[in-house]
């Protein structure tokens, strides 16, 4: 059963401060949904609620439901570890494990989940690296340190690491904000290639990026979702005055 991600009445707090106010939103499967908004609008908090990473921060709490493929991530008895195995995440800054080689970085998720067979690991690593469009660049340096790669390569390494455990959803929290324009373009190409295989949610403060890669876009402001719709429509014909002000550069 594939019906994307359905978020309803999602609220989030940090130490009692209400940072997300009743978000309701449905994201299509095998498509790219972008979340835009100014700094501090709650877009990162929102995406971290989609794989239960929000609660990792001390003092952070959540209420509401998030249905992924019909299953509520916040139902009683759901193990966040299992949730995160199905819902991968890529962060703002490339964060490969510094003590591991390129190969070990990609294999980390599987290895720490108990996969031991060398052949299985090799196959998964190659598949993930190909999927992340990094295989040709690193196939001869799989034994080198993960942090010896360039910033853009490191970010694709992190994408490969997330893909290796075969998630059905990939969350990307401003994946290009630490990268130069060329590396950014490569990641965007990659996103377009990956969307046939995965449901992708990308947080970005770059509106052009949202316009280029996503089918649907949500605009967040001060912890609320102001507007959600088809990307083209939202950018060319916003319904809400605040959305219009933001995308025309009047604030943010």
């Amino acid at each position: 059963m594939i019906d994307g991600i359905r978020v309803s009445a999602l609220n989030a707090w940090f130490n009692g401060v209400h940072v997300l106010h009743g978000i309701d939103l449905t994201m299509a499967p095998k498509a790219v949904t972008a979340i835009i908004g100014p700094s501090g609008c709650g877009k990162s908090t929102f995406i971290r609620c989609l794989n239960r990473m929000h609660e990792v921060v001390p003092g952070a709490t959540v209420s509401g439901t998030v249905l992924v493929e019909g299953e509520n991530l916040y139902a009683a008895g759901v193990d966040p570890v299992q949730v995160r195995r199905r819902i991968g995440m890529v962060f703002q800054r490339p964060n490969p494990f510094p003590t591991m080689s390129v190969f070990d970085n990609v294999a980390a998720g599987l290895r720490l989940a108990g996969v031991r067979r060398r052949a299985d690991l090799q196959e998964a690593v190659e598949r993930a690296l190909r999927q992340a469009a990094l295989w040709d660049e690193v196939k001869d340096q799989l034994d080198k340190s993960g942090v010896s790669l360039s910033g853009g390569q490191q970010q694709r390494l992190c994408i490969a690491r997330a893909l290796a455990v075969e998630p059905t959803v990939l969350l990307m929290d401003e994946p290009c904000s630490a990268l130069d324009p060329i590396a950014t373009a490569r990641i965007e190409e990659l996103i377009l290639e990956l969307r046939s295989a995965l449901t992708i949610v990308i947080v970005t403060h770059n509106m052009q990026q949202a316009a280029r890669v996503s089918e649907a876009t949500g605009f967040f402001l001060m912890g609320e979702m102001v507007e959600f719709g088809v990307t083209r429509a939202l950018f060319t014909n916003p319904r809400d005055k605040r959305t219009e002000d933001y995308i025309t550069g009047r604030f943010g």
């Binding site: 990473m53 195995r85 199905r86 962060f91 494990f97 003590t99 980390a108 998720g109």
Partner: protein
Amino acid sequence: MKPAGRRVVNVIMAWLTALAAGAVILPLLMIFGFLLFQGASAVNVDFFTHLPKPVGEDGGGMANAIVGSLVLVGMAAGIGLPIGILGGVYLAESRDRRLPWVVRFLADVLNGVPSIVVGIFAYTLVVLPMRRFSAFAGAVALAVIMLPIVVRTSEEIVRLVPSSLREAALALGIPEWKVVLRVVLPTARAGIITGVMVAVARVAGETAPLLFTAFGNRFWHQRLDQPIAALPLQIFAYAIAPYDDWHRQAWAGALVLIGMVFVVSLAARLATRGRFSGVR
């Protein structure tokens, strides 16, 4: 300030910092040179292979004390390191506020307790109930001295591991305990080893806490519940004795002790060197 003046200040300050850096290693170099000068002549094969000779006879060695020191420090590390490193991980990773604060504070207090007092503690805790001095009692005393050093350095280093790595690992669906064991600790490895070596070097030279725990022994010890020889004890005993030959051997013992700490530190660093570096 004018450019010329700024340049002069720059040169002066650069020299001052270089001088201060030199001053840090100067005492070590002087100690080492002095030990070489005084003790090198007494370091020979006998010193490493023979027991101490009876009073009045020249020659003999400190073989028992060398082995004794290795046994004592090894046992102390066996007790102190697991507790210290795990405790440090707890202090760094715990979400609780109060208990870590208390433990941290008390660890700092423990670090300041004079080592002779730690000796008395081990005496009361181990020697009195067992009714004898023993290697085990000595190791307990040394372990207590190691604990606060290892706990605090491990904590500081584990804290230095960027939270982005923890998040990356958690987001892969790795359980928290495995994240700590397989991602955080390997990243912190080099720094933790530094703390461990500081602690080992510190206790290897401790004399006071061994006086009434390990007690010293002029013969080969047989069992861990018997008194055991240790280099610092032997050095102390020989240094305050009235014989020139013993004085020479005390110098030699000090030289060997420093050499052992040096070799152990180097070996530990090489043996635990990862392929890629983490936090130092």
